[in-house]
């Protein structure tokens, strides 16, 4: 039981802490060691780009990409595109996670529901994300609804799978404790099952959010007139590599930020484990 809990804690830690012991580099706090290679790489890249070794139109210098982001911010384009992408992610993730929660709870709780829905959902899960795009565009048009549906689909499966298996694996010994205190139905769910399943549920939400980001890129690349994915395609069409790279960096930062938000909420809810 405790090893299982530890495993979840590890999954929820933002990054593994460096092993203790002798410091490999004298005088440098060990958590900065991971920054050495990226910084050296960036410096090298910058130098090679400035001396004209790298072609400026396909691989511009980091400083140029930084400048592009600043300019995008100044002109308001950045907020425009990032804003719509964030809106799509939020809506799609919430819808998908909600559906995943309903179906996960249902199939985790009732064997009949599991037999009815689980085989179909497991089969659907194996369809690659991009394969849905033409169908959704055909069904829902090129407007927001098709994109939201894509993102919801991405968020749905991890939430569904984790919650469903989490509920069916709640320690029967703890359920028996609930029975001793005559908990039934909703009371049992609220006081025993829900808290017991929370770690797995949060892991599901987190991977659901990760997939939602993957699906938003897919949706925005396939057909959008706004959003960071559109910005990338726009950069490609107009041959501006700095715009593409700036979008990539923005995706990375926003994805990480939303993930950290979820981790913070999760760690707060699970703080009993780390005390």
């Amino acid at each position: 039981m405790s090893t299982q809990q530890n495993a979840t804690v590890i999954q929820f830690a933002t990054s593994p802490t460096a092993p203790r012991g002798r410091k490999p580099l004298r005088g440098l706090p060990s958590r900065f060691i991971g920054l050495i290679v990226p910084i050296v790489g960036l410096a090298l890249w910058e130098m090679l780009a400035r001396f004209g070794v790298l072609p400026a139109n396909t691989l511009p210098a980091p400083s140029v990409i930084g400048q592009t982001i600043l300019e995008l911010g100044r002109s308001g384009e950045l907020w425009h595109h990032a804003g719509i992408t964030l809106w799509r992610i939020t809506t799609g993730f919430l819808l998908g996670a909600a559906a995943g929660t309903v179906f996960g709870a249902l199939t985790g709780h009732s064997a009949l529901a599991r037999r009815l829905f689980d085989p179909l959902l497991q089969a659907l899960r194996n369809i690659p994300s991009m394969a849905w795009v033409p169908l959704f565009l055909l069904w829902l048009g090129i407007q927001e609804s098709s994109k939201i549906a894509m993102i919801s689909l991405g968020a749905f499966f991890p939430v569904y799978l984790n919650l469903s298996s989490g509920i069916s694996h709640v320690d029967p010994k703890l359920i028996e404790v609930g029975m001793v205190y005559r908990l039934r139905g909703l009371q049992m769910i609220r006081r025993v099952i829900l808290p017991a399943v929370l770690p797995e549920y949060l892991v599901g939400l987190r991977s659901g959010l990760g997939l939602a980001w993957m699906f938003v890129v897919a949706a925005e690349i396939m057909g959008a007139s706004r959003g960071l994915g559109f910005l990338m395609i726009d950069g490609q069409m107009t041959g501006r590599a700095s715009i593409i790279l700036a979008s990539v960096i923005l995706f990375a930062c926003l994805g990480k930020a939303t993930d950290l938000l979820l981790v913070a909420v999760g760690n707060r809810l699970l703080r009993y484990k780390t005390r």
């Binding site: 029975m179 484990k273 005390r275």
Partner: protein, 262 residues
């Protein structure tokens, strides 16, 4: 004998049988168990694995509902779990997301808050865990966690405390300390206690009566009254004699260890 609390009623088991498996060809886990337990009495049920002792306890707890015969607590037939019976399992089974205080509070959520908090404090004090109210189960040792489980089982003022090998998972020294603790709690609370164990010494140290069970089918082989004053000296001559006579119930006489106490 100590004077028994009047609010406690006696427990009566009459012709209790329980078969696992369906349509009659299953294993007979319990075969016609008759047992009367007086209010305030400390009973230990001893037997090897598979003798049905845990099943018997679970029937009394109301967790096993499929059985024949009758189990009466006072005038009420036991048909399911209830707050008039507290249960302590072999594992502490505390809810890992609740603090010690919240775990103890778990069983009495319908009481008014002020009384609830007072009782929780009282029972945490009783099991000697004052100062650990805000700790989580994973921060406690096995013995401490089992004390919390005892507090949780007692906080609803049950008439009957059922303990299913409660110290079986503890190390030998902690087990002995917990046996002393349990006696102290029993003397303070005067709750009727039924403790299931496979540890003969534990039963001799604790019980007013020792119920010896045998397996296939699970039945009562012998009931021994232990009228020695407490605290009992584990190495006294009477205890040694008693231990030898209980050993004989389980092993052929040539297997009885003669001098294992030196």
């Amino acid at each position: 004998m100590s004077s028994f609390d009047v609010r406690n009623s006696s427990l009566q088991l009459e012709r209790v049988s329980k078969a696992f498996g369906t349509n009659g060809n299953g294993l007979l886990a319990l075969d016609n168990i008759d047992l009367d337990i007086a209010p305030g009495e400390f009973t230990c049920i001893v037997g090897g694995s598979g003798c049905g002792k845990t099943t018997l306890l679970r029937i009394i707890a109301g967790l096993e509902r499929q059985y024949s015969g009758s189990v009466l607590l006072g005038a009420n037939r036991i048909t399911g779990p209830g707050l008039d019976r507290g249960l302590v399992f072999q594992e502490h089974r505390l809810l890992p997301w609740l603090t010690v205080a919240e775990n103890v509070k778990f069983g009495i959520s319908e009481l008014p808050a002020a009384e609830r908090n007072a009782r929780v404090a009282q029972y945490i004090e009783l099991v000697g865990l004052h100062g650990f109210e805000q700790s989580y189960p994973h921060q406690l040792s096995g013995g401490m966690a089992q004390r919390v489980a005892i507090a949780r089982a007692l906080v609803s003022h049950p008439q009957l405390l059922l303990l299913d090998e409660p110290f079986g998972a503890l190390d030998a020294l902690t087990r002995i300390r917990m046996q002393h603790e349990l006696l102290r709690i029993w003397q303070a609370q005067q709750t009727t206690m039924i403790l299931v164990t496979h540890d003969i010494d534990e039963a001799i140290f604790l019980a007013d009566r020792i119920v010896i069970m045998s397996a296939r089918p699970g039945s009562i082989k012998r009931i021994i009254r232990v009228d020695m004053p407490r605290p009992r000296d584990r190495s006294s001559y009477e205890i040694t004699l008693l231990r030898k006579s209980i050993y004989r119930e389980f092993f052929a006489s040539d297997e009885v260890p003669e001098d294992y106490e030196i």
